[in-house]
Amino acid sequence: MKAFLAWLLGAVFSGLVWDEVSHQFAKRGWTRSLCRWFIAVGSRTMPEDHRESYIEQAMPEIENLLAERRHLAALRVGFSFVTTLPVAFALSDCVYCLTAVVQVPFYIALYFSENSTVPADFVMRAGVGYFFLFLGYGVLWRVVGIYRTGLMSRFSTNGTRFGLVPLIPVMAMSHVEVFLAHGHSTMAALFALHMLAFGFVLFVLSTPILSRKLFHKA
């Protein structure tokens, strides 16, 4: 009974606190600014001639919700612009791209490691080749995709979902094995953790069902 009452008090209190916090947030115009930013980001995946329309039509809905003190609903509506599938995929592609670039230091570190027994040319070939492969494919197609029409996003989303996500465990293991085989267990562990974290983010963002469940309330 005590636990239930404690829970109930906690729920009421956190509800009151949340209500006041969201009211203060809205009073300072932060909710409105945040929603406007969400809509601007989301509209980037749409055809250029539509972008003005999105903001023009979406902001009144946000304003009306704020006027009704439905701050959470306003945030949810604004946030829904960045959790549409094209944006989620485009963002996941950006994450992938950035992560590909982050992997390069691992190779550089391996190359310059004092105790390394890995042939220098192997490291250079692997690192440089990897870097340019993902730089070429990733940056040019995926980051640019955010600023182009939805077609670009759709191209990159399918590439991510069907081409690259399944490859992540394979790529990760082959690299971890190289590090382990040459006595770099710390680096192997860091690399594996990094790939796990990246893989998880990419998986969540690029899987439509999961994205919807996580970001869109019923």
Binding site: F38, H50, Q57, M59, P60, E61, N64, V77, T83, T84
Partner: protein
């Protein structure tokens, strides 16, 4: 009126209008009726409006007097409604195995 790619979301939107032929609906209302998140719905509404399926009009209010911004309301065009009924009937026939006029 031009044809567009008929997706599940398009069907959801047009069936709301078919079931409410006399009503003008705004974006959030449609989002609630269809269950489609507003961020995903708005591009669809703009596409349907451009294709001539929907007609969008801003509310004839003075925001300063009413104290809130104007909303854009949507209704189906005549051709849009005819095409929408065709689609809904086809979908119903597919699901139930017989045609039921709307």
């Amino acid at each position: 009126m031009t044809d567009i790619n008929i997706t599940r979301n398009v069907l959801k939107v047009v069936s709301v209008f078919v079931n409410n032929p006399e009503s003008d609906l705004y974006g959030l209302e449609l989002s609630e009726h269809t269950g489609i998140a507003y961020g995903a719905l708005l591009p669809l509404l703009i596409r349907l409006e451009e294709a001539g399926w929907l007609i969008g009009d801003w509310e004839p209010i003075d925001p300063k007097v009413v104290g809130r911004p104007k909303r854009k309301y949507f209704r189906m065009s005549e051709d849009g409604m005819a095409r929408a009924k065709e689609l809904v009937n086809k979908e119903v026939a597919f699901l139930s195995g017989r045609v039921q006029p709307v």
